[in-house]
Symmetry: C2
Subunit: 351 residues, 2 copies
Amino acid sequence: MLRIIDFMPQSSAGAAATIGEFDLIRRLTDVLGVDHASDRERRALVGIGDDCAVFPGDSAAGLLTADAMVDGVHFRRGEIDWYDLGWKALVSNQSDVAAMGGVPEFALVTLGLPEGFSPVQVESMYRGIRAAAEEFGGEVVGGDVVRSPALFISVSLYGRAAQSSSGEALLLRRDRARAGDRVAVTGPLGGSAGGLRALAEGRTSEDAERLKRAHFSPRAKVDAGRVLAANGVECAIDVSDGLLSDLSRICESSGAAAEIEAGLVPFPAALEREFPTEWLDLALTGGEDYELIVVAPEETFGRMGGNVGGELHVIGDITGPSAIGEPLVAVVDLDGSRFYADRAGWDHFRG
Amino acid sequence: MLRIIDFMPQSSAGAAATIGEFDLIRRLTDVLGVDHASDRERRALVGIGDDCAVFPGDSAAGLLTADAMVDGVHFRRGEIDWYDLGWKALVSNQSDVAAMGGVPEFALVTLGLPEGFSPVQVESMYRGIRAAAEEFGGEVVGGDVVRSPALFISVSLYGRAAQSSSGEALLLRRDRARAGDRVAVTGPLGGSAGGLRALAEGRTSEDAERLKRAHFSPRAKVDAGRVLAANGVECAIDVSDGLLSDLSRICESSGAAAEIEAGLVPFPAALEREFPTEWLDLALTGGEDYELIVVAPEETFGRMGGNVGGELHVIGDITGPSAIGEPLVAVVDLDGSRFYADRAGWDHFRG
């Protein structure tokens, strides 16, 4: 079995002539470690330059996810380090696989490059992609490099679901929340949004820098997802849009209503120090922390003890089935008052 | 098992608010036939709206490929019908799977949409994607919709390799051309490039329109690829960049040199009529016909008889191993003269 990197050459109408694609591919292939692969596990079946990446078949259930980042929309070219951009583009996909309890296996990276890009920057980006692949899984086996007026990175990721000893797929789904379940999260929330805010406001304190790192270098909770799935948890989602929004999604998919206590939501200490009046809003609604929201019966959490592949903070409960016209998520605020959220947002519910 | 469409919602920093993504997703989901799936085979395991698409594991080798199309680079928004754009975006990926001898199984479609797009147009595009999926395989199981200054469609496709009766993967690879093999193609070449030229030159004859259809509505040779792989063929590539360029790729990967006879290359009759002086150049170098170039020993072709899932035209031979500094592909022109090509191009060799 060969380890492969397969950047499919684009049609001649495309990027090749203009951006020196073939040279670029060679350089990126280097960055992704093809030449240094002899001492690593070799997994894919067909090597560089064929029409498709080929990988061994698997009796486990497969997972497929895709996520794209566009310059000026999801990031600003001048504000993010290219290495971080690559890291984050893959992590956002790995996080989707983690949120299903699966393990990332193979990634395809499609890159849209404007004229006049710097190959050094793009290489740096691929180093970030490679680092995330080494950290959380998902070897880059192919993709496409095209010319584009706007820089974009479109990643798709193939993963393998966790399996029971009898070979059954163990999946963390969004539609498995049941009345009486507890709601937990795998780590502090709001750091990424705090970092983005700090960046926008030009903050440079030590805490601000810490939050920026949370924004630029999120981690995919692959280990936690796998452990949770193996221990009978059936319901989770990753925090990509924000706790209230993503928990609303679970409730919507499950036909359930949830209540969480704001005072139980974990957050980075730096967030409260840097944003003394806004930290809770950031923790409740900030996106891209890529922690998991986990929903399971009390006894399932109990059975696992502390062994959940990381932290686990219970923050609330599934209170019952959802009702038409009723908000999906209730929040008990720090002062004991209540406000409500649904998937469309939360501000207009706040009283 | 459920059939699924899973357009992962993008982060709140992204497209949702601006382009009404959720409504759009619902509409596209309709277009892709989720609501009408009850009477069709249901294959994927996890339904709409989870973090990943989930599909049953497969003991056959998996194939992964990705291809993107960007407005102003690979197409011009005003010139291509949205339906055709969707069709072509998926076909270019299906063709990569066909060129490995595999069957498309699951597709992810990531769409970058500028502000002010028309949902009607985008729906039309998804109808084109759906039609191609129904024609050549590769159910759309997910993707991403993001805002982008430039319209782009980034598709990735998962496929299954053909298998021998003993379960071994039967792959059409680029690096399997051997001296003495014959070179064949599965159908007429140059039609797509002729259509593009006709479009650029504002031609509107019946032949010009025929060629434009070849450009906008190519077909993926999935059936041919599967039949070829099942019959012992081991080497193929699809014509995405042009016969000479793509055959050079086979030669480069295989360390082989090829010779083809221009007079044997099949082309659409409309091409010769519409471009009486340029038809051969277009047939030899035009891209995006998505026919397969097939390389195999004479006896392999012989064994198959006419049963190759379509046409098969022998156009030349693998003449020997490649030599450093020597061109990879020699062409015997209509007048018996020779010219040469390599992957970088061919013009500069001519004459």
